[in-house]
Amino acid sequence: MSNVLGRFATAAALAVAALAEPAAAQEPIKIGAIYSVTGSYAVIEDPALKAAKLAVKEINAQGGIKGRPIEMIHYDGKSTLADIANAAQRLVHEDKVIAIIGVADSGFYLASAPIAQDAGIPYLDTGGTVPNLPEQVGEFGHMMPFGDDYQAFVAADFALNDLKAKTAFLLRDADSDYTRAIATFFKQRYEEKGGKIVDESSYHTGDTDYSAHVTKIRSLNPQPDVIYAAMNPGDDATFVRQAREAGITVPIIGGDAFDNPDLVKNAGANNTKDVYFTTHMALTSDGGKVSKFIDAYKAEYGIPPENAFAGLGYDSVYLMVEAMNKASDLSSKAINDAIFTITNFAGVTGAANFSDPKRAPDKEVTLIAVKDGKFELIGNRKP
């Protein structure tokens, strides 16, 4: 008995000694992540989480930050506000992380960000696009994507300058904040620069019959030069198909919601001619950095990134890493201050400047044209 105990004690002591030495030298840096992998937001936040995990793996393989590995602690937001707020509380007060990344919805972000703000921990929004989120939260709030104003402004400039469209028809989903915002910003910019909105109409998320709107557009004389469709995923394809089948051939421009494979699948390749949209990154682009990311994602998960939110999740980790590398020490305050000094971040979702503490980064918007059923990059632009 005593023999067994003795042996056990020796083994335990050895194990502790073996573990203690390196553990002290490279104690991991804990960052928190809140992404919904169940519920309605899983389709956009799950790719973001997978890409964020990939980024952490890459950084740790390169030796971590200042010799210490990163440990990312993730909680499922379950697409539910209370669970997201609980996750933020848990990360801040139980796990004691030094920084947080997460969520792809402005409401989710506003539900969890005040918790990080009160605790003085930087919290980077991965996908919510209301332009002034940091202003609403405070100095510890940051955004990875461009604001809705940027993509609508780029779309308006593209309509006026590239398509030479002097008149536009505006179709908007009245039920969501995102579609209202991009429609309003598009109208503002388009009229400011001399364009004319000839008519507009509203629909509700999930509508399947757009014949009233299509008839309205067809009855316009002369026809508008362009249609700006502030729509949600799913609805976009239905509308594009019905408009084209009714003989409306004018160009259609959409927001980043158009950036989903169902657009071409459900509308048909023939019907998506002259369809353009603004988004966060071109997943078909063959620029070095993006290709490397797509290949790494494929190698890790067996499929290419599902959508641009993967790129935003990937960039979220790399932005935090750059801030940590720049920071004088690894305190939350120093990391937060360092984020404002990053003026030329080169991510897979475009170059960005984070120096404005009140709003979304000054960042390039990707313009895509649909050609023969494929998404083709037109270019990266700033308004």
Partner: protein, 361 residues
């Protein structure tokens, strides 16, 4: 009603113990635990008040999230900081934009607004029974949710009304939770409560006995909506944000699940149901993200909480279809049962016809 000495002593002792526990929690625990305990108190309130309408009143309402939404938004708009009202929710009349109401009146006005909605909706809808009532009240939930999304200048729409002051601490939440339990308990064990259950069990017989059926149901529905409205106000001031998504089908489902799990027609059951559905997931969540636990390597198991709570619901429904507590109540010691008056005992058994086992009293 005669009271046993045991009960006279037990109630203050229980209340004192709870106050001490609340004081300890509020001073010792970190914000994470406080938030979970706060959500627990709010869920207890919502479940008890839903049970009052559905379990005791036989009005299977799927509209309670709508009442919580109305109460929540009303209270939040009233307490909202004046400096931010002007540009965030500019559509209200000028005098309302210039005032920030203290927490208590705001909560009560929120409850009142929910009650008014309940009267307006209940008047036509409570003529329906069974699943017709359920579907009609579900319609209310949908209408309120869509209205919140579209009244952007009043509610900030789908983005949610954020920046609500964080007034709701454990004292407020558990104060109102206790008040809800007390009021529901007293009502259920009153002449009104007996009439309400008589209506639930046999509509015609109750009417023949001189019960004003329509009025009884409407009053119970309105009181139930009041507490749901106050709970909504507390929720907004705990999470500091309200969005229409919080009051969707999911909220309907969770509310009904908590009630059925604990037992329809039992306050104790409602507390147990809320406890299981709020606290248990918090213990499972750390296992969801995988990692090593006690030397075992576990993969990430996302959705584990939902699976476990669903399994518990299925198992309870298989073993105890009437819910964990059925329609029994936790009583304060055996002497109490003996001390109960004969009138109350008959009333207790008369309320048992809804398929549950007869109490061993």
């Amino acid at each position: 009603m005669r009271m046993a000495r045991a009960r006279k002593a037990a109630v203050p002792i229980a209340v004192l113990a709870l106050l001490a526990a609340l004081w300890l929690a509020q001073t010792q625990l970190n914000a994470f635990y406080l938030q979970v305990l706060g959500l627990l108190g709010i869920n207890i309130m919502l479940t008890v008040t839903l049970n009052f309408a559905a379990g005791y009143g036989g009005m299977f309402s799927l509209g309670h999230p709508a009442f919580a939404a109305i109460g929540g938004y009303t209270a939040a708009v009233l307490t909202y900081p004046v400096a931010m009202k002007g540009f965030r929710i500019p559509a209200y009349p000028e005098w309302l934009l210039q005032i920030a109401v203290p927490f208590l009146p705001a909560l009560l006005l929120g409850g009142l607004a929910a009650s008014i909605a309940a009267v307006l909706v209940g008047w036509p809808v409570l003529r329906l029974r069974g699943h017709y009532l359920a579907v009609a009240t579900l319609g209310l939930t949908v209408i309120v949710q869509v209205s919140i999304v579209n009244l952007v200048d009043y509610t900030r729409g789908a983005l949610g009304l954020s920046g609500i002051p964080n007034y709701a601490n454990l004292w407020w939440i558990y104060g109102f939770a206790l008040l809800t339990i007390y009021v529901v308990h007293r009502l259920v064990h009153s002449r009104f409560g007996r009439a309400l259950r008589a209506v639930r069990d046999d509509y015609v017989a109750a009417q023949m006995s001189g019960v004003n059926v329509a009025r009884t149901r409407l009053i119970a529905f309105t009181i139930s909506a009041f507490f749901a409205g106050v709970a909504g106000g507390l929720l907004g001031h705990l999470l500091r944000i309200l969005t229409p998504g919080q009051f969707s089908f999911n909220a309907v489902f969770i509310g009904v699940a908590m009630m059925i799990l604990g037992g329809m027609g039992s306050i104790t059951g409602s507390v147990i149901g809320a406890l299981i559905m709020t606290i248990l997931p918090q213990f499972i969540i750390p296992f969801e993200r995988g990692g090593s636990f006690l030397g075992f390597e576990l993969p990430a198991l996302h959705g584990l909480t939902q699976i476990v709570t669903a399994l518990i619901l299925i198992i309870v429904m298989l073993i105890r279809p009437e819910g964990i507590a059925g329609s029994k109540e936790l009583t304060l010691g055996p002497r109490l049962r003996r001390a109960r008056g004969p009138s109350e005992r008959t009333m207790q058994t008369s309320g048992q016809t809804s398929g549950s086992e007869v109490e061993a009293k």
